[in-house]
Amino acid sequence: MTAPKTLYDKIWDAHVVEESDDGTCLLYIDRHLVHEVTSPQAFEGLRMADRKVRAPEKTIAVPDHNVPTDPTRLSGIKDEQSRIQVEALRQNAKDFGIEIYDVDDIRQGIVHIIGPEQGWTQPGMTIVCGDSHTATHGAFGALAHGIGTSEVEHVLATQTLIQKKSKNMLVKVEGELAPGVTAKDITLSVIGKTGTAGGTGYVIEYAGSAIRSLSMEGRMTVCNMAIEGGARAGLIAPDEKTFDYVKGRPHAPKGAQWEAAMAYWQTLKTDEGAHFDKVVELDASEIAPVVTWGTSPEDVLPITATVPNPEDFSGGKVEAARRSLDYMGLTPGQKLSDVEIDTVFIGSCTNGRIEDLREVARVMEGRKVKDGVRAMIVPGSGLVRLQAEEEGIAQKLIDAGFDWRLAGCSMCLGMNPDQLAPGERCASTSNRNFEGRQGYKGRTHLVSPAMAAAAAVTGRLTDVRELL
């Protein structure tokens, strides 16, 4: 009998093309997702070396980071550099025979939203993209991680990556979430507990009853932020929910292949007794709605807490916390729920899916965005946007005072016109609160969609449970 394996071990083993004596492996890559920011130099490299894309049929391209989210984009992107980058992607896709979901395509959206939506993302695959939030696809039981541009070029040319195996980490979340607490609070709480470097060198498998009960959307939110915990990837074993989600999608297997795929997918789980190098456990019932107070995603606290004192940290974190508070314009001891915000951003590959929008609509029921608050909703894809319109959510949110925009990365990172002005403070459903991430000197508080909606109503960071 072979030794029990983790889910990660199984996917890894199935993809090793060649292993050298020191453990360095050539790993086969099943899907490669490409966006406009991290790929131009890779395609340029191919051209210079006269190389082709080895498997264009396993590669898709989509512009998302640079695209404006208002309708003017259809008549051309005004920002010169953004336009050049998007045009370069279009040209590269054409020259190298890659399918592209272009700016005017209803299926366009954030790369990590459209991969699953189009059925490109399937259990057991290896999936890479020149983007750290590739971890999102791990929600399907796929080994998915971000790579740099040199590696993008390597995958384009060879459909493989040179890799060493990471260690196995298990994050187990058992129990039931309290009302108002969501997948976003789980994933932020895990990072709050392990720190942004806690996962470095590991691939995380998220398990436990609280993870099982999440929808696919929620699972994607959890895995999306595995990278913020430093992990190479996050994984969740596929189950009926996963299969139901994948079934019938444009690029999902069909007919006899579907049956064969299902038979394989059902084996994709960690064996009883498999070894994990590190185990972290959380009790779901103890997780509160959380917000970040600083400029690192590990700066997480329950909304009921107060801004911490930098002196209470140790080591280099003292200086980092001091710098963060200065940047964020917060004082130790201040109640987080007293912090006033100017902007609410709902979207990104963390929380730009239909369920996130439904959650916002639920909180907004009978309520309005507070006067003076700029509140924007940016669906993660054109199809999410369409679905929300069909479900009547879009109109409700527009009536409540939200700005309803076209799909893209938008204010998750200020590479397109959606940005914070210096000093502006935002309750954001995105994944990074780094200095300047949402705009020069902009201040970001990471929250769940429900918490973002609550902040939109009151104009300050707010415990959504008060509105339930």
Partner: protein, 201 residues
Amino acid sequence: MEKFEKLSGVAAPMPLVNIDTDMIIPKQFLKTIKRSGLGVNLFQEMRYDQDGNEIPDFVLNKPAYRNAEILVAGENFGCGSSREHAPWAIQDFGIRCVIAPSFADIFFNNCFKNGILPIALPQEQVDILMKEAEKGENARIEVDLENQKITIPDGTAFSFDVDPFRKHCLLNGLDDIGLTMEKSNAIDAYESKLGAQMPWM
């Protein structure tokens, strides 16, 4: 790729933990379609004020560190995005070696692809190097990749770990795409097996 063998240079101290990729190179500089020219924007928001004037207090603006070739930093250096613009900017500035107690995974990988040597050392050793770096111009640190050794002027030396394959590539300036393409038979074989057993993949 440029070879990395031995380096003796000024080390700039940045005793901050979690230096993220947005700090290293903010997103407005990711719009380039080239690899070069990012050095002037390295650490943009710490280095320049809003009008583009240098902030004199920032380490790389101080006369002693303007030509630094080594960076000594706090733990979890390079966390955040996968942007290879971060190592491109570091390299374009002229820094070839980053020393920290720990690195974020993708950044760490990206360094090796760009002729930069990231070295993870225990905190106590980084503390010593940090002190050394704070002495400015006179404190040259020597990094010897072949012998995996860092030496400071008083003769104190630390050894460091590096993955053998990466070391080999760095020492010889090898492009790993070329190396992998030599294995195309193995990749072909893998693909035909996959096509037969799991055609939907």
